[in-house]
């Protein structure tokens, strides 16, 4: 009896629920999600940057973004590094036992391909035609993109693989190019480096939200080292970010304001910063899953839709044995035969008669003036 009441109430209220869900489904304005995860360091002692990136990669995959929509750029020299005591593994700090490497990690740019030029080309889409799809950021103007950068940085720059650097101005210009080419709807930029906030200082394109692990003048610190492996396994900011993300599931309603509270100074030692002035929506209305998850656009409908009737066979009339033959003929469109066989009349140009008259009169006049009028009598 109570169960029946419950079911009746559910049925009463059920029309409302899909509407609400439908409303929330379409609030953010994006239709697909992309992620660009970049680890800009190489060499064994930068193990933690690779672990950072791979952990974020795992979370983002777990929350729904498929590999085809993730551009992962790693130096990828950790798992098979000869200094790795546990080969083919990259541990993150979660319980010191979560191997974030494995068969299903698809690294798109590895080793020496992680360069500033490639990164900017991925962002702006200006890649040579031979680049495979997995290496391209094929976003459109309804894409929400998550960009995560980690490595060694300074005030206004980020070091790429110990040989070059990208400045905050270049990054801002790249985002402006993306905006002008309609390559994103909204973009979340997370950076975990020393003095990370300097990297988002110069942004000027709309719909950008940025988070950084430390302010200008501060260093981002790493979490505890693992004594078995011998290096630090993760950075603090990313560690607490991942702890936060562990509680997020695809239908979670957590918004950006919660993300800004991740890793306070007590835990991170550095002061994380964020920038929302370029973001057109209220950060409170932007869900975590808008960037970290992937939207599946589902349209809920309660209507029944009639499919079209199957194609009916045309019945052949065999009324009379002698069927009336309709003679068909082509409609006269252009008098083609007349056009083909008609050549334009070649009108030869002739000098005007007045010209000929004038010219020869003058010539004769000059002739007679020169040689005297006595020749005239020979003509007339």
């Amino acid at each position: 009896m109570q169960l029946q009441l419950f079911v009746i109430i559910l049925f009463l209220f059920s029309p409302l629920v899909p509407q609400e869900n439908a409303g929330q489904f379409f609030s953010s304005g994006h239709t697909n999600n992309w992620a660009v995860l970049v680890c800009t360091s190489r060499f064994w002692f930068n193990y933690r940057h690779v672990a950072n990136t791979l952990s974020v990669y795992r979370s983002v995959k777990r929350l729904g973004i498929p590999d085809s929509h993730i551009v992962l750029m790693l130096a990828d020299d950790m798992a098979c590094n000869h200094r790795n005591p546990k080969p083919a593994t990259v541990f993150s700090h979660k319980n010191m036992e979560l191997n974030v490497y494995g068969d299903d990690v698809e690294v798109d740019y590895r080793g020496y391909e992680v360069t500033v030029e490639n990164f900017l080309r991925v962002l702006t889409g200006r890649l040579p035609p031979s680049t495979p799809r997995s290496k391209r950021l094929l976003s459109d103007d309804r894409s929400n993109i998550l960009i995560y950068l980690t490595g060694h940085g300074g005030n206004g720059f980020l070091k790429f693989q110990d040989s070059e650097e990208i400045s905050n101005v270049e990054l801002a210009d790249a985002f402006e190019q993306m905006w002008q080419k309609r390559r994103y709807n909204e973009l979340l930029f997370i950076i975990d480096t020393c003095q990370g906030a300097s990297m988002y200082e110069r942004f000027y394109s709309p719909n950008l939200m940025a988070l950084a692990s430390s302010q200008v003048g501060e260093d981002s610190l790493s979490h505890q080292p693992d004594l078995a492996i011998g290096v630090h396994l993760m950075d603090r900011y990313t560690f607490y970010l991942l702890e936060f993300l562990e509680d997020i599931h695809p239908s979670s309603k957590a918004n950006m304001n919660d993300l800004f509270k991740v890793c306070p100074k007590s835990q991170c030692v550095s002061t994380p910063g964020h920038r929302t002035d370029l973001f057109l929506r209220d950060p409170g209305s932007a869900l975590i899953t808008d960037f970290f998850g992937s939207v599946r656009k589902v349209e809920i409908t309660m209507e029944t839709i009639n499919l079209t009737e199957p194609i009916q066979q045309v019945e052949q009339n065999f009324v009379n044995e002698e069927r009336q033959k309709e003679t068909y003929s082509y409609v006269d469109q252009l008098p083609v035969s007349e056009i083909i066989h008609q050549k334009p009349k070649q009108k030869d140009w002739h000098p005007p008669d007045g010209f000929i008259l004038g010219l020869w009169t003058l010539i004769l006049l000059v002739f007679f003036k020169t040689y005297g009028m006595k020749h005239l009598k020979h003509i007339f």
């Binding site: 005007p352 010219l359 020169t370």
Partner: protein, 435 residues
């Protein structure tokens, strides 16, 4: 003299006809040294074809010759070869007759000067005799007709041959003293390419001399004659331009012909100096350099006519040379015309200093033109600088030739008035330097 001249004409016509029938005719008519965008035969044909299709021949930067050429070739396009051979023949005969007359005058003047005892005693070896001057007209005709440059120009059917014919007729009528014909032919020559305008001064000087009107700016008779000549010249020029308008019914031949010559839009390489400069020049300075280059052609008229006012025929020669070197689209046909005059000054040979160098350079450059063109355009192992270097060298050699003759002429005149063996004030031997 008629028989050798006829023989020469026959030989020349035979050579040209033989070349016309050979396969070289097509090859030659494409060479940039021989034809220019102004004078190319295929452009004339193109212009006539456009006219037959009902389009103005000046549309589309194809045809840059004057409408009278259209009129001429409308009827003669099938006989083009004969027309050009005839033009060469007319040029040669006109030059022959004019040089014969000029020689008579030179000799007569010399006779008067000898009788008036105006020559110092030691320069008697500079005096010319009729015997040495007997073959000069024939040599002039030969120089023109058998010059490889002329033959190439004729075989290529370049309208330069017609221009040369008109200028030669102008020279003939000037030397004969016919003011009206001289003005008419000069206006025809100017009508076809603007540069013969500079020959006005030379013609004026000669005709004044012939009519014994002293060249004195304060005398009325001088200005009256200048006014007459200018009236005839400008009048006939206007008449011809007006006739051209009536031929085609529009004025678009003015920018196509004169605008083209003056503003040099086409930078096809040729043996002149304009193309390379204007190819590498910034747009900003183009007008300035255009004015500089064009003024350069006209500029030498005034100083040369002041210096050579007693020798107008030499002035004509110098002016023709200056035009051929400095015009915007020179071809070898222009060079052939002034080179035809060289036998007239053959008595200057003892005063010419650079003749060996000049002739070697001219020969070498003429040989190198097709070589470097091939290397640049076809082999790709040279570039435009090579070709331009040869062009420069060729023009420098021509300038050296002309200035050498100028020096020799003036030196001879100086010797005739001051004696052959010049002495300085202290009695030692002096040398004469052209400053």
């Amino acid at each position: 003299m008629a028989a050798p001249l006829t023989l020469l004409l026959l030989v020349a016509v035979t050579v040209r006809a033989a070349l016309y029938r050979s396969s070289l005719a097509d090859l030659i008519s494409e060479r940039v040294e021989v034809v220019s965008p102004l004078t190319a035969w295929k452009r004339v044909v193109e212009g006539l074809a456009l006219l037959d299709l009902g389009v103005s021949p000046y549309s589309g930067d194809v045809f840059h010759e004057t409408p009278l050429i259209i009129y001429l070739f409308h009827f003669l396009v099938d006989y083009a070869e004969i027309t050009f051979m005839l033009a060469d023949v007319i040029t040669a005969v006109a030059l022959y007759l004019s040089v014969k007359d000029y020689n008579k005058q030179v000799f007569r003047k010399q006779k008067y000067a000898l009788e008036a005892d105006r020559y110092p005693l030691d320069c008697l070896e500079l005096i010319r005799s009729p015997k040495e001057m007997q073959y000069i007209p024939l040599k002039v005709a030969m120089f023109y007709l058998l010059n490889p440059f002329t033959i190439l120009s004729c075989v290529a059917k370049s309208t330069c041959g017609l221009n040369n014919a008109v200028i030669a007729l102008f020279v003939l009528s000037t030397i004969k003293g016919n003011v009206l014909l001289s003005a008419i032919f000069l206006s025809l020559a100017t009508y076809q390419s603007i540069y013969p305008l500079t020959l006005c001064a030379a013609a004026l000087l000669y005709l004044l001399q012939r009519q014994y009107i002293p060249v004195n700016l304060r005398r009325f008779s001088f200005w009256w004659f200048v006014a007459q000549y200018a009236f005839m010249y400008l009048g006939s020029l206007f008449v011809i331009v007006g006739l051209s308008f009536f031929l085609l019914g529009s004025w678009d031949f003015l920018p196509s012909v004169y605008g083209f010559i003056l503003s040099v839009p086409d930078l096809t390489p040729n043996i002149g100096l304009f193309w390379y400069f204007f190819a590498e020049m910034f747009e900003h300075f183009r007008l300035f350099f255009l004015c500089v280059f064009q003024i350069n052609v006209f500029f030498y008229t005034v100083p040369l006519s002041i210096k050579l006012k007693e020798h107008p025929v030499f002035l004509i020669f110098m002016q023709l040379a200056v035009i051929s070197i400095f015009k915007s689209y020179p071809t070898v046909g222009d060079i052939a015309l002034y080179m035809a005059f060289l036998p007239v000054w053959s008595h200057l040979h003892r005063f010419l200093r650079n003749i060996f160098l000049v002739s070697c350079v001219l020969l070498a450059c003429s040989a190198l033109f097709p070589v470097l063109w091939h290397l640049w355009i076809y082999a790709g192992s040279a570039n435009s600088n090579f070709y331009y270097a040869i062009t420069l060298l060729f023009n420098v050699a021509q300038i050296l030739l002309v200035s050498d003759y100028f020096y020799a002429f003036l030196r001879r005149e100086h010797h005739l008035s001051h004696g052959l063996y010049l002495k300085r004030k202290d009695g030692s031997e002096a040398t004469l330097v052209l400053k």
